[in-house]
Every structure is written in C-alpha cells, then in structure tokens.
C-alpha cells in the first residue's frame, strides 16, 4: 500500500469510517511503516490539542434574551409590513403622479369614478392649480402607484360650490367603494365648473383607517371661444 494513499485516508481511519478491509490494510501498513505511523501520531496529537482548545460559553441569559429580541424584531417587521400593506404607508406606497389633463374631446363624460390605481396615507397633498373652462367637461386624472392590490378602498370627492362631476348633477360629495390594483391606477374626474372663479376639490382615498387627500386647486375661466364671443359682444 502506498504511503500517500494511507496518509490521505488517516482522517477516515481515525473516524472509523472506512470499510473493514481498508481499515485492516491501513492498520497493517501503519504497523510496519515508520513514516505513516509518525504521521498518524502527529494527526492524533494535533487533534488532541485542537479538542482541548479553550471555549468561552455565552453570557448568562444570552439564549433567552436573543430569542426574545428575535421575536420582538419579527413582530415589528410584521407590523411594519402590515402597515405598508394596509395603508399607513399609503404615504410611501403612494407615489402620486397626478395630473393633467386636458379634457377629453367634446367634453366626453365618463363614469367619474373608475379607479385604476391604489393606495394612501393620512396626509393632504396640494396640487398645483388646474384651469378649466366654464361649462366644459375637463377630465382631471389622478395617477396613483400602489405597491400592492387593495380591496375595500373608499374614494370620496368633495366639490366646492359651482363645481360638479359630470354624471352626478348637484352632488357636492360623491363617495363610493372600490379597489386599487397593484401598480398604476388612474382615477379620472370629469369636472364641470358652472361659475367663474375657482375652488378646491378634495379627492380622498381611505383604507384600513388611513386616508390621503389630494387638494386640487381649480381656476375657472372662459374658453378662448367664450372670450372671443365675449369680446365680440363687448365690441358691439
């Protein structure tokens, strides 16, 4: 038997993890080979020293404290996750793109409340002013990005005097329940102004006891054609 082979097998030999024939062969070889016998003794002595290597146990009560700390941490993480999902984070999860819109062609009316998106927090966000023309339908779109899908979301629109949502005549508050899809949702508000001036429209989204409110500053003016005809009238 080759010494290199025996030396390579010494660990298994000491671990008694070789088959009987192999064990017997190595035992026999070691009995007659000074080099391999010396190697085996070195391995055994080194193992003995390593086995006796000093060890310091944990500080008193460490296991209990560590488990308690881990439990608390996990509960905090769970609560944080729930908050994110259920609405406190509406702020964080609620990326508000908002905006726009020039109105749809011909003052097209749609269901004012077709939510396409999602989430909220207990806060109020002010939007820049939006200009609308007297008596014309203008779709103002709120785009809301949500990290998760949410059911049982309550949407409400509060309108100042002189405004209404197309399809909901003479209602100053329109409220409905719906859901937000994961990702981008679009809430389109077909707004009609019946008097010049302006006002603030509040769009609120509530979920899980939390809410976020968008304040839309509306400026009502005359359309160019209305202005032109006015001028004409005045010119006359």
């Amino acid at each position: 038997m080759q010494c290199e082979h025996v030396i390579h097998q010494l660990d298994d030999y000491l671990d008694l993890s070789l088959d009987q024939d192999e064990m017997a062969s190595i035992r026999q070889h070691i009995g007659t080979c000074t080099r391999c016998h010396g190697e085996l003794e070195q391995v055994k002595r080194l193992r003995s020293l390593l086995h006796a290597l000093p060890f310091t146990g944990p500080s008193e009560g460490f296991f209990e404290q560590a488990m308690e700390k881990a439990r608390r941490h996990a509960e905090q993480q769970k609560r944080r996750k729930w908050t994110l999902v259920s609405g406190g984070a509406l702020a964080a999860g609620f990326v508000l793109v908002f905006a726009v819109g020039l109105m749809l062609p011909n003052g097209q009316q749609r269901s004012p409340l077709a939510p396409l998106s999602q989430e909220t927090a207990s806060q109020t966000l002010k939007m820049p002013g939006i200009s609308v023309a007297l008596g014309e339908v203008r779709n103002v779109s709120l785009s809301i990005d949500s990290a998760v899908a949410l059911n049982d979301v309550v949407f409400s629109i509060d309108l100042p005097s002189g405004f209404e949502l197309s399809g909901f005549p003479k209602q100053t508050t329109v409220r409905w329940q719906g859901k937000l899809e994961q990702g981008k949702n679009l809430l389109e508000l077909p707004i009609i102004a019946h008097q010049l001036g302006g006002g603030v429209i509040k769009a609120s989204i509530e979920h899980g006891g939390k809410h976020i409110t968008y304040r839309l500053n509306m400026d009502v003016g005359r359309s160019p054609s209305q202005s032109e005809s006015q001028k004409v009238v005045h010119g006359v």
Partner: protein
C-alpha cells in the same frame, strides 16, 4: 405544514442554540462575535419561519445558514474601507504577546498546555478562512467530513484534501510547538 406558534417555534429552536453558539464561537473566535452571529441568525429565522418548512434535519440546516451569514459578514468586512483595529488580547484579558508574571505559580504542565493553546490559537488565526473553518469543524468540534460537506456545501473529496493541507500548514505555523 401549518405555521408553528411562537411557542412551538421556540421549542423547535431551543435545543440547537448551544450547538449553534459553539459553532459560531469557533467561526468567529470570540464570545461577543459569536453572540452577534447567533443573534443575527435568530432574527433571520424568526422573521421567516416558513423557511423551515420541509427541512428534515434542522440542525445542519441552521448551521449551514449561519455559516453563510458568517461568510457574508466576512466579505462585507473585507470590502469595508474602515476596519476596527485588531485586538490581540484574549478574553481573559491577557495579551498573547505579553508575558505577564502570575502571582500564583502555575504548574508546569498546566502552563505548558496554556502556552500550547495560545500558540495553537495564533496558528489557527493565520490559516486561510477555508482551512481554519474545516479544522474548527472537524478537529475541534468533531464533525464528520460528511457533516461538514452539508454545512459548507463542498464535496467530501475536496474537504479531505483541504483538511490535509490545513493540518500541514498548521504544523508549519506551530513550528516549535512540541506535538
């Protein structure tokens, strides 16, 4: 598998804490670092108890997860531009490089063994991480190569070669240590 209650989960883990701490101590070399490593492991496990679903042998699995965390920490530390200064004092407060006389005489045999342990520890610290870990698990803690293979995710043949090289290197480092 139904989700275990917090109490059940405690019972599931508790029998393995002593083992895990011991391995963490061998990995890190100090009580404070071992406690930190085990704490991090528990945080991770408690946060995702579902990870244990389907795990047949929890102890090797936990040991393996802890090993990976240890390696990740080491890599992060290696990449970090700021390192703590090396503390050469032992947990007993004495420096390996000092030779402070002790008031009470220490029996020669005990002194010899203490010196050997210190030299051995210093030699182990100078091994490569791969070599040190395999020696710690196999020769210090008595893991079989098969068990180490599970923890380190390395083939047994590779480990066998590694342990031979590690011991040879260790003997070189120990130098005059009479073994």
């Amino acid at each position: 598998m139904t989700k275990p209650s917090a109490e059940d989960f405690d019972k599931l883990l508790r029998p393995h804490l002593g083992h895990l701490y011991r391995i963490a101590y061998r990995f890190t070399g100090s009580q404070a670092d071992a406690e930190d490593l085990l704490q991090d492991l528990l945080m991770k496990i408690y946060q995702r108890p579902e990870d244990l679903d389907g795990v047949e042998r929890i102890r090797p699995w936990l040991t393996r997860v802890m090993y990976r965390m240890f390696i990740d920490n080491r890599r992060r530390y290696a990449r970090s531009p700021i390192h703590l200064a090396v503390d050469n004092t032992t947990e007993d407060g004495d420096s390996l490089y000092d030779n402070i006389p002790c008031e009470a005489p220490i029996p020669e045999e005990q002194r010899s063994r203490q010196d050997q342990s210190k030299i051995l520890k210093r030699a182990l610290d100078r091994l490569s991480e791969d070599h040190r870990l395999v020696v710690m698990l196999h020769d210090v803690e008595g893991f079989t190569l098969e068990e180490i293979s599970t923890v380190l995710d390395s083939p047994i043949g590779t480990l066998k070669s590694r342990i031979h090289r590690a011991r040879a290197r260790l003997r070189d480092l120990i130098g005059e240590l009479p073994i």
